[in-house]
Symmetry: C2
DNA sequence: GTAGGTGCAAATCGTTTGCTGATTC
DNA sequence: GAATCAGCAAACGATTTGCACCTAC
């Protein structure tokens, strides 16, 4: 495991302990999957991966673990209508996503920061800023080359 | 009905005719609701409103009409995981939204255009741009004042 | 008259919940 | 040992679909 993934995993474990959450084998496996994923795995993908190690694990456990991480603000949820949610356990704060509409791959592009724009827009309308989401949809290079 | 809403309604009717879609009373009512809404009504809200005029209308008809408009690119769909989708029939192209996380009100804020940013980000990663979505979440003035 | 639309009910899919037996601490 | 958790199945809510009847053109 890469150093930064290892460090993030230990950080998460510490935070669970702080809150008196138990470190069960299933939770540990889910945390590992999250910190080791480059992409933004969906619940189904996490479920599929964890079944390799713990075949009896249920989807409910995946959901419950993620709900716990959400409550701790240690995972970023990318919800999609009519599709599984995807999760980022490494950068649990708003950031730009580039999403392929064909293969549904999600990457973090290099992008100039939006900086104070969300705060500015919210303030101007009298809103107290909570968060924001910026998704760019396109066709990824691989899917482009596969077009006829 | 305001002039611009009237004009948009006629535009939509023309586009339906062009494609040999029939102008049924239910469809007309849904189109009216869409062009007259300042906000971004959800399917449930559209359903609720249309029932006042046509009590027998079904949710399925609302969904089917919206699916037709989506296919014609005449409505912008704002999908939310675990919530009804919302629709904008007046500005059926990507634009920034400001969303209250408490009352779920959605407004179009005055905002400097993102301009070429989505295209720039997509291009840099080799993606062909399809669309984008920029949502800012916060607490609206009314909900702030209602906080004890 | 006929292609297309409406409305109903059933099916679907992701997610959540209730509960019982098992496990971490 | 006790509080928490895992796993199962049932419940849920938004959306979609199949189909018989109906209606705009």
């Amino acid at each position: 495991m890469k150093d930064d993934a290892q460090a993030r995993l230990e950080e998460l474990i510490d935070k669970l302990r702080e809150r008196d959450h138990r470190i069960t084998p299933q939770r540990l496996a889910i945390l590992k999957i999250l910190v080791l994923s480059d992409g933004h795995p969906s619940t189904e993908q996490i479920y599929g991966q964890i079944k390799e190690e713990f075949p009896t694990t249920s989807l409910a456990t995946v959901y419950k673990t993620i709900a716990m991480l959400k409550e701790m603000n240690e995972v970023l949820e990318l919800g999609f209508a009519g599709d599984s949610n995807h999760y980022d356990g490494n950068k649990p704060y708003p950031h730009t996503h580039l999403i392929c509409v064909k293969c549904r791959d999600i990457i973090d592009p290099e992008v100039e920061d939006l900086k104070i724009l969300p705060q500015q827009v919210a303030q101007r309308a009298g809103f107290r800023l909570v968060s924001h989401r910026f998704d760019i949809y396109g066709i990824c290079p691989r899917c482009q080359s596969e077009e006829q």
